[in-house]
Subunit: 234 residues, 2 copies
DNA sequence: TCTAGTCATTGATAATTATCAATAGATCAG
DNA sequence: CTGATCTATTGATAATTATCAATGACTAGA
């Protein structure tokens, strides 16, 4: 777990209060008094792609907010393969299930260099007990986790593989910052959509030949209209 | 929405306190004082199979605890088909996403005659604000919803359809009360596993011929060992 | 009891996807 | 720069699944 920059312990105000993504984050609604309740440090950490933020076997002691980057939640299967059950981006929370205290449900692995802030579970529980201003955001995060899981389940595993790839590319293209979006490895696309690496490669290659997407390394430009047509007919 | 028995408004103690599934339910940890905080009635309701408990277009004003029976959560797709994203049983909570206030994420439809208790969202919010004893159970329910969703996503949509059916039958056979478990219509099995009705029918019929399951109407006896072998090799 | 309607099963065939294998392209350490 | 390594692509073929269609089984109500 190299390249982790653990900053100085948070000392009571500035860092979280002035966080530049705070309006997106779990602590969006907290005020100065709430922050004063925090005892343990909330660390900023940086990960490279392919490193591990947490695994299912880690003690579930932290909840993470994604400050920048992209993170996959990976569920390992008994036969040695894996499924990706969700992809998280800026403002999303990873490992919210730590609040239950049982275990992380997946491994969290950055797809790109990723910055997170790591919040001790105990601090979230304390805040939630002593301030009314965290509950709404927590509920929001639980809701988003379930909503995303259900959407993936119902939309991304239905229909032909061509349809699934189109649907997934459109998903990746939502909420992007620039005019390009991240495009995962063909193996990861397969792990999201429950298809083989070869099938996802063939379909991406076909979309490129058709001019519906332009791939450049691990980013792509998407012709949304063309891909949406596929969703209508498959 | 026929055959609904709305019982008398709950008056302050006995009903919930003495509920025979309370140790399983959302209110497991509440005490008399907590119950005294409840203003609006918590209604017991009975539904027949195929009726509707709530739909995505309903105002998300209630959370439901399943007292008995079996409920499918149905996500309608744009092309007119549908996916079943979860099956709920005794003690499970349906519609927990109402707490976020946005919308129900699926339609809830009983597979069997089903008894629920219907809890107004406002009461859960009030209790959660004023008592520390609901938070743990709520977290537990959010966790279970996500855990189930992720399990379905990663286990039930992976591998051959034979494998998926075996996995689903074993799931249905868990936690059953008698020696038989409920077995859904072939169409519903298909909607769970993202396969066609014909394919699920063929596989169920094959399992019957092999003696791995014995079907009787909408219940079945399952040879768990035989089905588990399929999971190992497919 | 009879009948229309629904659901389960099965067959034949087409379409899709997985599997096995090879090649091409990209990347990285030295 | 160069060989080793990894990823993406493509081909050939087998296996799986969907589709279209028919039949059998069962059920609710006339």
């Amino acid at each position: 777990m190299n390249r982790i920059a653990v900053l100085e312990a948070w000392t009571g105000n500035a860092r979280c209060l002035h966080c530049n993504i705070r309006k997106l984050a779990l602590f969006a609604d907290l005020n100065q008094e709430d922050f004063d309740l925090i005892h343990e440090p909330i660390d900023d950490m940086d990960f490279d792609a392919g490193e591990t933020i947490y695994t299912m076997t880690d003690s579930p002691s932290y909840v993470y907010t994604i400050r920048s980057g992209l993170v996959k939640l990976v569920h390992d299967l008994a036969n040695g393969s894996y499924r990706i059950v969700r992809i998280l981006r800026q403002g999303d929370v990873a490992g919210i299930e730590a609040l239950n205290g049982k275990a992380y449900l997946q491994n969290a692995v950055p797809l790109l260099p990723t910055a997170v802030c790591r919040i001790p579970r105990a601090e979230i529980e304390r805040l939630n007990d002593q301030s009314p201003r965290l509950t709404k955001q927590l509920t929001e995060r639980w809701y988003k986790a379930i909503s995303d899981a259900d959407t993936w389940l119902s939309e991304l595993t239905t229909g032909t593989s061509r349809r699934r790839v189109a649907s997934f590319l459109l998903y990746l293209d939502d909420n992007k910052h620039s005019d390009e979006c991240y495009i995962p490895s063909r193996e990861d696309i397969g792990a999201v959509l429950a298809i083989t690496t070869e099938t996802s490669s063939r379909i991406i290659a076909e979309f490129r030949r058709n001019g519906w997407i332009t791939v450049n390394g691990n980013t792509a430009r998407i012709n949304r209209t063309a891909l949406q047509k596929i969703l209508l007919r498959e």
